[in-house]
Symmetry: C2
Subunit: 249 residues, 2 copies
Amino acid sequence: MNIILFSHDELKLPTLTVEDYRARHIIKIIKAQPGDILTTGEINGPKGTSRILHIGPNSVTFADITHTCISSRPQVDLVMALPRPIMLKRVLAQVATFGIDHLFLINSNRVEKSFFSSSKLHPEKMHSRLIAGLEQAGATALPTVSIHKRFRPFIEDELPEHMADYIHCGLAHPGAIAQLQDIIPLGSRNRGSSAKTLLIIGPEGGWVEYEVEKFTECGAKPFSMGERILRVDSVVPALLSQLALLRSM
Amino acid sequence: MNIILFSHDELKLPTLTVEDYRARHIIKIIKAQPGDILTTGEINGPKGTSRILHIGPNSVTFADITHTCISSRPQVDLVMALPRPIMLKRVLAQVATFGIDHLFLINSNRVEKSFFSSSKLHPEKMHSRLIAGLEQAGATALPTVSIHKRFRPFIEDELPEHMADYIHCGLAHPGAIAQLQDIIPLGSRNRGSSAKTLLIIGPEGGWVEYEVEKFTECGAKPFSMGERILRVDSVVPALLSQLALLRSM
């Protein structure tokens, strides 16, 4: 945990006491003492530091809560074919760690129907995985996650409404000739802070041809990530870090 | 499983019968039938295809085993502070998926001693994780893994002996001013196929200052991966895919 996160509601008083997993982490893992200054932040708000006023057997009380640092987001949205539940759990944390704005979890021909009834999709469970990803990154901006159980309404009605927000849109697709650097111009981060990128990641086994056609009709450009086939929990960090690199060059 | 892997010893006869997890995967997941052609390969050898001759209740027999395609490796070695056992399990598969040649698992001030007695370090367990990574990638080249329980002998005696093999050597270190693209020249993949890169990844909490000094004395150049703190199982795909991108540009 590289930041202790508070909700907006918790931050209404000048001191704040936590008694949940955060208190346990501070006491047992960080082994903090009264007077210590920790990195803290407000979920979907600024971050900064707080001073530990008091440590009880199962509680930690903070004072001097000073959150003034607003960190930027990388301005990326992600469309992803709903992965297997165990992968979803990891991917949700990664998505928050990398600062994705909006994650669209969608259906696809090669997504098993049972995945949509997984308990991992319960809003509280997803929330706790996203928070874990923020705590890892030391970040505060919580991604929005939406679930789209039918491919056609998503691709024909919902996605087209969002497309105007994106300056670049890439579809990861094995066998495509282009690579990511053919789609994302170097240094694009510096031109217009409102320019967002959309990346689209398929299911195990890939998109079917019809799905690729539908995405390209929407304006997505297929690109390949190379010969080696990556698991989705490697695709997410691989793609987002390549995007960050291209934009920063 | 994107490739069925055979050992050199299994490939001595014109037909080959498997009865282990590979047979179960082919029968239950791939649901293959006699006559089907599957992607197969020899561990540390070439890959190609094989035809299914016969499927028994728990066995699959192959014929027409044709392995002629030799795939290239990205020519990267990795030094990594030994991660927590659960992370090690994932990282071993990733290291094979991304085609690392040699993984050095080393001690560091912030590595817990108990990690070195983890059952995950047993050679057979590591082997099966590496194989899983190859099966994911559709690759055949098995990484070498060596374990170095003492930091000083590694950094003072062992690493210097290897340094002549590397044209570039980067140390991932939060707070460094350089980024990966300052260390790895664009398109370096095309200049001399024997030129290897060494990347060095620290423990949770990072290297201590003494360790950074020792690595830089060996010729490693510190670089930062950005503000967000990644978990080691995100660092590996992030770094290796950034490296691949830089070399291919």
